[in-house]
């Protein structure tokens, strides 16, 4: 996958031109400082206009960016003592969901998230972050453990979706996701979910039923992949761009619909452009929300979580007269 977005190209070309002019300028043979200043002003405006007007499809590209930080990057950079734990105790261990114990700002917690790879070999090993039932069941096992030890849970979301494979279906993908969702609605410890990249449908939601759902600015969260939507609605996969812009999968739209609680700002151009800054933002958001949630009793947590999801929907109630006509 290209690491440069289509929309970024004019900016990168302009920056390249500025560098060239600078080199010529440095030779001292011609004074190009005025031209350089002018181009720099232009670049600044262009930057603001590009990153200020990213479409749903642009966001999909950033969210899928090969250099975008993954779950393990967050675990290693904002947590200490990360200790990975393996296996669902039933059948196997799913490398597409990484899970374990860790500490954030001195607070021990249970952590898990989808794990994508950064290059082909790692991606194959991680099944591109697409979980099998064993992944959801591993998360469930750890959530029950979190509850037993009173540890809060932090989940990271970054998957194209649950794996659509023969064996995954055979081992009850639908049941694994449903059971994980059901479990999360009743776990008596705080759950903070961070959408860090791609939130792909049921495979994402299976570990995303948080008390707080945070979303990095350029990440996406969707009921179906834009490609899948285009294929089903218009029988044309090339309309994925149109689908991405219609599905309302951006952080702003989801915040507006009341489906995510907070948007976490990213460095200009995406999380990968300044990972240190990104880690700092995410760490702060996680600790703030955990602190906040730790003040609630288990009963309050469960009740508030129920009410939070209870109101997610848009419909209207017609009058009896209207129905008869």
């Amino acid at each position: 996958m290209s690491t440069i977005l289509e929309v970024e190209k004019p900016l990168l070309e302009l920056e390249h031109k500025i560098r060239e002019l600078r080199e010529v300028d440095l030779t001292g043979q011609v004074d190009l400082s005025a031209e350089i200043r002018q181009l720099e002003r232009k670049a600044k405006l262009l930057k603001a206009s590009i990153y200020g007007n990213l479409s749903g499809w642009d966001r999909v590209q950033i969210a899928r960016h090969a250099q975008r930080p993954t779950t393990i990057d967050y675990l290693e950079n904002i947590f200490t003592d990360f200790t990975e734990l393996h296996g669902d105790r039933l059948l196997g261990d799913d490398p597409a969901i990484v899970a374990g114990l860790a500490r954030v700002e001195n607070r021990a917690c249970v952590v898990f998230g989808h794990q994508k790879g950064k290059e082909t070999k790692e991606n194959l090993a991680r099944n591109f972050g697409m979980p099998n039932p064993e992944g959801f069941r591993k998360a469930c096992r750890l959530m029950r453990m979190a509850e037993r030890f009173g540890l809060p849970i932090v989940s990271f979301i970054d998957t194209p979706g649950a794996y659509p494979g023969i064996v995954a279906e055979e081992r009850g993908q639908f049941e694994a996701i449903a059971s994980s969702i059901l479990l999360m609605t009743g776990i008596k410890v705080p759950i903070v979910t961070v959408v860090i990249g791609e939130g792909g449908s049921g495979g994402a939601l299976g570990i995303a039923v948080g008390d707080r759902v945070l979303m990095l600015e350029n990440s996406v969260y969707s009921v179906i992949s834009p490609e899948g939507c285009a294929t089903i609605l218009w029988r044309d996969v090339t309309k994925a761009k149109q689908a991405a812009n219609s599905l309302g999968l951006t952080s702003e739209k989801l915040k507006e619909l009341g489906l995510v609680d907070h948007i976490l700002p990213e460095p200009l151009g995406g999380a990968h452009r300044d990972t240190a800054e990104t880690f700092q933002t995410v760490k702060k958001a996680i600790t703030t929300n955990l602190n906040d949630l730790s003040r609630q009793s288990p009963t309050e947590l469960i009740e508030n979580r129920y009410q939070k999801y209870r109101v997610m929907g848009r419909f209207r109630e017609a009058s009896p007269n209207e129905l008869e006509s």
Binding site: A162, I166, G186, L205
Partner: protein, 295 residues
């Protein structure tokens, strides 16, 4: 099953070949139909009386939510709930979508993809939800989620067992993430009815896939399914494209998942009513005496 067979015998031969010389084309189309599986030519009335089950090959044709209600409830006991909840177009997909909704309302005599309410079965009151595949492919949007939630909440309030018959291709795409979140809220309601100690039975019919399969459909205390219903998370086409090979025959059917341990029983349609009634009476054992219908 025996009662069903007796009934069939009384009605006489099921498979008749229409005499084309006698019947006009219009009459043929009006009264006759072909089995979708074995292509036997059947009287429409015959197929309807047999609850949509082909007398030749036992293929279970899709039936409407209203037919299913009749099959699973005592006559004239149904009281519909939340008919006035209507889908909107929250993401602005446009007029075409709104028109499709209106068309499906007329076609199905329902106002969205699930019919909910209360009724009795062999005298026992219950809360019932029946999905309708002909309404936008049984897709789950905000209204389906809200109705399932209210159904289960009212069942808890009135101390009724709840039964949900599913038939759905999954989430309603035109509602985007709002539809995905219905998986979370319906599952949260299932947890509540579990905790209330009331039976929650699901009946999976063809097809029950994706978002509905991966939420309230598979979470029943008892999960029943009709024969040969397609069940699963990912659609067959998506799997075939991913793995680049054909799927084995019988993959993702009720019988397949019965064998894999994800379904309690595969129940032929003519036996469903009796099976459901028996299961409810057994699970309600502890509640029978104080299960006075408060509603």
């Amino acid at each position: 099953m025996a009662r069903f067979l007796d009934k069939l015998r009384k009605q006489g031969p099921k498979v008749a070949r229409p005499n084309k010389k006698v019947l006009s084309v219009a009459q043929t189309e009006a009264n006759w139909t072909k089995c979708a599986s074995c292509a036997a030519v059947l009287r429409k009335k015959t197929l309807e009386d047999a609850l949509g089950v082909c007398p030749e090959c036992a293929h279970h044709h899709k039936i409407t939510a209203w037919q299913r209600l009749e099959m699973l409830s005592d006559p004239d006991t149904f009281e519909e709930w939340d008919r006035n909840l209507l889908s909107q177009d929250p993401l602005g997909f446009g007029q075409e979508y709104l028109e499709k909704l209106a068309k499906d309302r007329t076609k199905t005599k329902l106002t969205d993809a699930v019919l909910t309410g209360r009724c009795t079965l062999d005298g026992r009151p219950m809360a019932i939800g029946i999905m309708e595949f002909r309404f936008r492919g049984g897709s789950m949007g905000s209204v389906v989620g809200e109705r399932i939630n209210r159904l289960l909440e009212r069942a808890i309030e009135k101390r009724l067992p709840a039964v949900v018959v599913t038939s759905s291709g999954g989430a309603r795409m035109q509602e985007g993430m709002l539809s995905l979140m219905q998986m979370a809220r319906t599952s949260a309601a299932v947890r509540r009815i579990n905790e209330a100690g009331l039976p929650y039975i699901t009946i999976l019919t063809d097809p029950t896939t994706a978002g509905v399969a991966a939420s309230f459909a598979s979470l029943g205390d008892v999960v029943l399914a009709e024969p040969k219903a397609i069940i699963g998370f990912s659609g067959a086409r998506v799997i075939e494209q991913t793995i680049r090979q054909k799927l084995p025959p019988g993959f993702q059917t009720s019988e397949f998942y019965l064998e894999k341990g994800f379904i309690d029983r595969v129940v032929p349609r003519p036996e469903m009513r009796q099976t459901l009634s028996t299961i409810l009476s057994l699970l309600c054992g502890g509640h029978l005496k104080n299960a006075k219908d408060k509603g």
